[in-house]
C-alpha cells in the first residue's frame, strides 16, 4: 500500500449462507483505489461489485480479509464511525425532512456547530444548484433533483471517500448524460475519491479514471478505460465492454497465424500455441476484393446504423466476425450481402486473451 492509496481491500471474501450452499459474492478480491481518483467498479448484476461497496461503507462485514482506509484497518468499524458516505441507488432521502435538513443531517449527527452546518448546507446547495428548493420536502422533487440532494447530502460531511451505488440507473437517458457530466465536475471540484458502481460500460468508460471489471465475485481486470477497452485480459472483459470479435489463432511467440493463413505480429510476451485473438469491429478493415495478404470473407449481413455500417462476415473457416465501418454519404461504397471481400486488421489492434 502506498501513501496515495485511499481504500484498499485485501483478500476480501464475502460468503452468504452456510456450508455447502454458501455463495461467495466476493471471492478473494484485492484492490487499491488511489486518493482523488474516479474509480468505477463495473460488472453485470450479481458480480459482487455492490457487495464490495457495502464492505467499504461498513454495511456488511467480510467473511475474511481486510478493508483499509488511509492505511487504517476499518474492517469491523460501524458505518457511522467511517469517514465514508454513500449515494444510494434509491437515493434513500429522509421523507420527513426538507432538502436542507437532508443535506445537513450528517453534519448534525457529527455534532458540528449550527452555524457551520448552515454554511456547509448553503455551500452544498449551491454546488448542486438547488438553492431555490432548500425548504422543499424531498417528495416534491423530480428524480434528477432527488439525485442531486442525495449527492449533496453525502458530500456535505466531506468524506474521505464517496461511494456511489448505481446512482444514475433510475434516471432517463438524457438526464443520465447530464448527471454523468455533473458527477465528473463534482469529483474534480471537491477532489474527493469517488468509487462508482455501475453495470453500464459506457458510463464507466466516459467517467472513470480507472475501472475495475468484476465478474462472478472476482476482479477480472483493473486499468484505465483505454487499457480496459483496447487491452482486455480475458474473454469476459473483452465481451462485456463494447462489441468484439473472437478468433482462434496459433502463436509462435512473435507471429499470430489465423485460420486461412493470415499472419500478424503478436503483442509482446505472447505465449506459443493455440490462443484466442480479439479485435474490435472498428479495427476490422474491408476491401472490395480479397487482395493478397488479406483474409477472404463472405458478407452475410449489412446493417445501416447512421454513423456506421455494420457488416456480419463469415471467414473461410466458419468463424463469424463483425466489422464496423464509417458510412459514406451516398452509400455507393457499401458492400452487398453475398459479396466476397478481403479482411485486414489495424496493426496492433489484435489482443491475445489469457483464456
Amino acid at each position: 500500500m502506498t501513501k496515495d492509496t485511499a481504500v484498499e481491500a485485501r483478500n476480501a471474501v464475502k460468503a452468504f449462507g452456510q456450508g455447502d450452499t454458501a455463495v461467495r459474492a466476493l471471492d478473494d478480491v484485492s484492490i487499491e483505489i488511489r486518493k482523488g481518483e474516479f474509480f468505477t467498479l463495473l460488472g453485470p448484476s450479481g458480480c459482487g461489485k455492490t457487495t464490495l461497496l457495502r464492505l467499504i461503507a461498513g454495511f456488511e462485514m467480510p467473511t475474511s480479509g481486510t478493508i483499509l482506509l488511509d492505511g487504517q484497518d476499518i474492517t469491523y468499524l460501524p458505518p457511522n464511525k467511517r469517514p465514508v458516505n454513500t449515494v444510494f441507488q434509491s437515493y434513500a432521502l429522509f421523507p420527513h425532512l426538507t432538502v436542507a435538513q437532508n443535506i445537513g443531517f450528517g453534519l448534525e449527527m457529527q455534532g458540528r456547530p449550527r452555524a457551520e452546518v448552515k454554511a456547509t448546507v448553503d455551500r452544498m446547495l449551491a454546488l448542486v444548484k438547488l438553492e431555490a428548493l432548500a425548504s422543499r420536502k424531498t417528495s416534491q422533487l423530480s428524480g434528477g433533483q432527488q439525485q442531486r440532494v442525495a449527492l449533496a447530502r453525502a458530500l456535505a460531511p466531506s468524506p474521505k471517500v464517496l461511494l456511489l451505488d448505481e446512482p444514475l440507473s433510475a434516471l432517463d437517458l438524457k438526464l443520465r448524460r447530464e448527471m454523468q457530466g455533473e458527477l465528473k465536475r463534482l469529483q474534480t471540484e471537491t477532489g474527493i475519491t469517488f468509487i462508482f458502481v455501475t453495470h453500464d460500460q459506457e458510463e464507466a468508460l466516459t467517467m472513470s479514471d480507472r475501472i475495475g471489471v468484476m465478474s462472478a465475485g472476482k476482479l477480472q481486470q483493473v486499468g484505465t478505460p483505454r487499457e480496459i477497452y483496447t487491452r482486455p485480459l480475458n474473454r469476459f472483459v473483452a465481451s462485456f465492454i463494447g462489441e468484439t470479435n473472437f478468433m482462434p489463432a496459433t502463436s509462435n511467440g512473435s507471429t499470430l497465424t489465423l485460420a486461412g493463413g493470415y499472419k500478424m505480429p503478436a503483442p509482446p510476451a505472447t505465449k506459443s500455441g493455440a490462443v484466442t485473438v480479439t479485435v474490435r469491429p472498428e479495427q476490422v478493415k474491408l476491401t472490395h476484393t480479397p487482395e493478397p495478404g488479406s483474409l477472404p470473407a463472405t458478407v452475410r449481413g449489412v446493417v445501416y446504423m447512421g454513423t456506421d455500417m455494420n457488416y456480419q462476415l463469415h471467414l473461410a473457416d466458419g468463424t463469424e466476425i463483425e466489422a464496423c465501418v464509417v458510412s459514406d454519404v451516398t452509400g455507393e461504397a457499401a458492400l452487398q450481402a453475398g459479396q466476397t471481400v478481403g479482411v485486414t486488421f489495424t496493426p496492433g489492434a489484435a489482443q491475445v486473451l489469457e483464456d
Binding site: A57, P78, P79, N80, F88, A92, L93, H96, F105, K137
Partner: protein
C-alpha cells in the same frame, strides 16, 4: 351558464342528496338520535326508581364534580369522582405507553420478517380477538390472583414468600387493559413500519447517526402516523373501559365506565350517568383534537 346547464346542476345536487339519504337516516337513527337522548336526559332530574322526571335540572352536570352535603345542602368537591376521573386518565395514558413500549418492538419484528412468515405473525397477533373479552379478562385474573399462576410460580421458585397482591389494584387493571388493547397498537404500527424504507436505516448510519439517533431522528418521525393511530385506538377505549376494571379492579378500583354503569344501575341517577357519558365524550374529543393538531403540525412544517 345556460338555463339547461343550471337545471342539470340542480338535478345533480338533488341526486346527491337522494343518494346520501340512506346514510343520513342511519346516522340520525343510530348516532345523532341516541346522543340527543343522552344530552336531553343529562338536563333532567332523576326519577325515584331510575329513569328520569321530566323536569329541567342541572344536578346531573353538577354531580360530575360536586356533591351536595346531606346536612346543610351546600356543594363540595366530590373527591371520589375526581379520583375516578384521575384514575381513568392515568391508567389510560399508562396503558397507551405500555402498549407502545411492547407493541413497537413487536410490530418491528413482524414487519422485518420475510413476507411469507409475516402473515403468520400477524395472524397470531389477532388470535386473542377470537375469544370473548370477558373470558380473556378472567384468564388474566387467573394469572395474577393471589393463588394464581404468577404467584404460585414465584413462590415455588423461592423468589417471594408472600403472594404479590396485584388483583383488585390499579396495577391489575393496567396490566389487563394493556393486554387487551395491545393488538390495537401493534396493527397500525405494523402498517406504518411496513411502509418504512429500510434503506433509510443505512442512510442514517452512513451519515454518522448512532443507533439511538437513527431511532429518534429517522424511524420515529417517519412512523409517527402509526404511533398516533395506535395511541388513539388504545387510549380511547381504555378511557371508557368497563369489563377490565370491573373484573380486575374488583368493583373498588372504578373507572369512568364503571361509574357511568353505576348511575344507571344501583345509583338510580340517570341524569348523572348521561352527563358523565357526555363528559367522557368531551374528554375523548379533546384528546383527539390535540392529536390531530399535533399530527398536522409536523406534516405541514416543510411547506
Amino acid at each position: 351558464m345556460s338555463v339547461a346547464e343550471k337545471a342539470q346542476e340542480a338535478q345533480s345536487v338533488r341526486n346527491g342528496w337522494l343518494l346520501s339519504t340512506p346514510a343520513l337516516i342511519i346516522l340520525t337513527l343510530f348516532a345523532v338520535g341516541p346522543l340527543m337522548i343522552v344530552v336531553v336526559y343529562s338536563f333532567l332530574a332523576p326519577g325515584q326508581y331510575g329513569n328520569v322526571e321530566w323536569k329541567l335540572s342541572l344536578d346531573g352536570w353538577r354531580g360530575i364534580l360536586w356533591t351536595k352535603d346531606i346536612f346543610d345542602d351546600t356543594y363540595g368537591l366530590a373527591d371520589a369522582n375526581v379520583t375516578i376521573f384521575w384514575r381513568s386518565v392515568k391508567l389510560s395514558i399508562l396503558t397507551t405507553l405500555l402498549t407502545f413500549a411492547v407493541g413497537f418492538p413487536t410490530a418491528w419484528f413482524i414487519a422485518t420478517r420475510p413476507a411469507k412468515s409475516r402473515a403468520l405473525w400477524l395472524f397470531l397477533i389477532t388470535i386473542p380477538f377470537w375469544t370473548n373479552l370477558l373470558i380473556r379478562t378472567y384468564a388474566i385474573n387467573e394469572v395474577i390472583r393471589n393463588e394464581g399462576l404468577l404467584n404460585t410460580v414465584l413462590i415455588k421458585l423461592g423468589v417471594i414468600s408472600e403472594p404479590l397482591r396485584i388483583i383488585y389494584t390499579d396495577t391489575a387493571v393496567f396490566i389487563g387493559m394493556a393486554y387487551v388493547y395491545l393488538p390495537l397498537m401493534v396493527l397500525p404500527l405494523f402498517a406504518a413500519i411496513d411502509r418504512f424504507d429500510m434503506k433509510l436505516l443505512e442512510a442514517g448510519y452512513d451519515l454518522y447517526a448512532s443507533r439511538m439517533q437513527v431511532l429518534r431522528r429517522v424511524i420515529l418521525p417517519i412512523v409517527k402516523p402509526g404511533i398516533i393511530a395506535g395511541s388513539i385506538l388504545v387510549f380511547v377505549p381504555s378511557l371508557g373501559a368497563y369489563v377490565t376494571p370491573r373484573v380486575l379492579g374488583g368493583g373498588k378500583q372504578m373507572m369512568i365506565g364503571n361509574f357511568i354503569d353505576l348511575q344507571f344501575g344501583q345509583g338510580r341517577n340517570w341524569p348523572l350517568g348521561a352527563a358523565l357519558s357526555l363528559t367522557l365524550l368531551i374528554i375523548v374529543t379533546g384528546a383527539l383534537l390535540i392529536y390531530v393538531k399535533y399530527a398536522n403540525r409536523d406534516v405541514s412544517n416543510g411547506h
